[in-house]
């Protein structure tokens, strides 16, 4: 055909055929090798471990080692201090505030014999320490705490009665997730942490060969226990609460927390929340799906370590902590801190609810990572724009207890938790973050590009596309109707949480 006539007409024809033959042979070799490689990968693929995919490492879609750095991506800019959890940990403070507030109101009513405008005259001086000094320094937090009790909770109760039926499936799901889990730790470290055998006698630690091998072992079993990501670090004492919170077994919560010797290392485990309900925050999402699983994983790890004869103590969500978990997780190389204060991981974005096990089992530690989050958050600000309470700053980082970080207004944040009909919390900042995307080719590619682009151009372009292509409701719309909103959620819920499809709402 034409090829032959080309041969006769042009002397180069013979060269072309030789080229095609060589190319054909080369293609066969390469193609064959490809088929072999495909076969091998299919044999090893964690996705074939049906039911145990993540346990075999299917979630480890990011090669962390290319991004390890010596120091984490937050800076120390002053004298560092531990956090006084009695005043600065929002749940602890709110609990103390509520108790004292009721006492103050009760005392006043007793004196005057009537209720009325004396509520407006509550001052920091009415409280005992440490709240008194705290409210003197941060009077706006006293305002916000009072606002929660006087304005927000009553309206939430009223709107729950009127609109709550629409979310009964989401509530059922959340309650179900929270119905399972280990008992919280109620003993102090000296009682709880130390290993004991079945008779209650102190356990003998097994002689482990090598901290690096032990670390690999711990990570493998943590994955088998169900953890999506695992990291290990030496515990930085700055992250431990200066004073403990209620319920962790410390006798005197007004005494500083002395860090036990056996809190040498911190193992960080955790799982993401279920994706589709998470995107439908705040009304249809919950933290319980991840919290309960993280609790179980941490408690299993504690038991494993104690059986080997070493000390271990879990620090788990919702509030059973003696330390701040996100900075420990950042030190362990699991991610970097984002603008919203939550840790951003390269695998699952901010959709990660970690727990910590403090222990003295000898371990090699992981180095922190840097995959471009600081530059990204500097310009993105999607979370700050979407936050209904305005708790996330639009501006620069500030100094907080000697560290430079974005300062979150936790009182405003918690007040919004009480201003929506969803399950305890909000989680909108997690849902809108560009890093929080499912692990398909598109978002994995976007992550790899931004993690490796030194110019920052791809970050700006991708942020622009994210804001343009993934719009959401206005921040005000997330509130309950009594507070000016429309019970909006970021995205529609998955079909199995759409109450109106299953329940006759009348």
């Amino acid at each position: 055909m034409s090829e032959n006539s080309d041969d006769n007409a042009h002397p180069g024809g013979l060269n072309r055929r030789a080229f095609l033959k060589a190319a054909g042979l080369g293609s066969a070799v390469v193609g064959g090798a490809g088929m072999a490689g495909f076969g091998y990968a299919a044999g090893k693929d964690p996705d074939t471990y049906l039911g145990w995919q993540n346990q075999e490492g299917a979630s480890l879609v990011f090669r962390r080692d290319g991004y390890r750095v010596d120091k984490p991506t937050y800076e120390v800019v002053g004298e560092t201090r531990r956090m006084d959890a009695r005043t600065h940990q929002i749940f602890e403070r709110r609990g103390r505030f509520m108790a004292e507030y009721r006492r103050i109101l009760g005392a006043r009513r007793g004196m005057d014999g009537e209720e009325g405008p004396e509520k407006a005259a509550i001052t920091p001086g009415d409280f005992s320490e440490p709240l008194r000094s705290y409210y003197r320094e941060q009077p706006q937090d006293l305002e916000l705490d009072i606002l929660a009790v006087e304005e927000i909770m009553p309206r939430l109760r009223a709107d729950s009665r009127e609109y709550g039926d629409r979310y009964v499936l989401a509530r059922a799901w959340s309650n179900a997730m929270g119905a399972v889990g280990p008992d919280p730790i109620r003993e102090p470290p000296e009682v709880n942490d130390l290993p004991r055998d079945r008779r209650g006698r102190p356990g003998e630690p097994v002689r482990l060969k090598d901290p690096a091998r032990t670390a690999e072992l711990i990570k493998a079993v943590a994955m088998q226990f169900g953890s999506t990501l695992v990291g290990i670090t030496e515990l930085n004492p700055d992250w431990v609460y200066g004073y403990p919170v209620h319920g962790r077994g410390f006798e005197d919560t007004e005494e500083p927390l002395e860090i036990p010797d056996w809190w040498t290392y911190a193992i960080v485990v955790g799982v993401p929340m279920s994706w589709d309900p998470m995107y439908a925050n705040p009304t249809y999402g919950t933290s319980n799906d991840a919290y309960s699983r993280s609790r179980i994983i941490a408690t299993r790890l504690e038991a494993f370590i104690k059986t080997l004869g070493y000390a271990a103590r879990t620090h788990v969500p919702g509030t059973s902590y003696d330390l701040m978990v996100p900075p420990v997780a950042i030190d362990a190389g699991l991610g970097e801190q984002g603008r919203h204060g939550v840790m951003i991981t390269p695998e699952v974005g901010c959709n990660f609810r970690p727990a910590v096990v403090t222990t003295n089992i000898p371990l090699a530690t992981d180095r922190p990572i840097d995959f471009g989050v600081q530059d990204f958050c500097a310009h993105c600000k999607v979370c700050a724009e979407a936050c209904p309470s305005g708790a996330i700053p639009m501006g620069e980082k500030e100094e907080v207890r000697g560290y430079r970080r974005y300062k979150i207004d936790t009182a405003k944040c918690l007040n919004f938790w009480n201003s929506n009909l969803g399950n305890m919390g909000c989680r909108i900042c997690i849902a809108v973050c560009p890093y929080t995307r499912k692990a398909n080719w598109l978002h994995r590619m976007a992550l790899e590009v931004t993690a490796n682009d030194p110019t920052g151009l791809s970050e700006r372009v991708l942020t622009g596309m994210h804001k343009g292509f993934y719009p959401g409701p206005d921040p005000e719309e997330y509130y309950i109707p009594s507070l000016g909103g429309e019970n909006a959620s970021f995205r529609d819920p998955p079909w199995w949480l759409r109450t109106e499809d299953f329940v006759d709402l009348g």
Partner: protein, 109 residues
């Protein structure tokens, strides 16, 4: 749905891609066009981009993000069409079309 995530799928896509190239080569030969290696390279890149655009729309719809599918489809589709026409003209095909010429309106140079 599993068909699309198997290795076999990509094997078949690879074959289809090669057929597209061979078909384009035949079309080029028929028209007697002289096409440089650079143009071929651009064409291959363009095929990748066009595939990306379609995959983007599909992925967005699969994720339940129709707004992203529409707007992304428009943005990337626009780029694909414009660059596609440009490459088509680089192939030399554009010169051979006759056009009707009616009066002009545009002012300026």
């Amino acid at each position: 749905m599993q068909i699309f995530t198997s290795g076999m799928f990509w094997f078949v896509e690879g074959i289809l891609f090669m057929v597209v190239i061979l078909g384009t080569r035949a079309w080029v030969r028929d028209r007697g066009l002289a096409v440089s290696a650079w143009t071929w390279a651009l064409f291959v890149l363009w095929l990748g981009f066009a595939g990306f655009t379609l995959a983007f729309v599909g992925t967005s719809l699969g994720e339940g993000e129709p707004t992203a599918a529409t707007r992304g489809g428009l943005l990337f589709g626009m780029i694909a069409i414009v660059s596609g026409v440009g490459i088509w003209r680089l192939f030399g095909a554009g010169e051979q079309r006759d056009r009707e010429r009616v009066g002009s309106v545009e002012s300026g140079s």
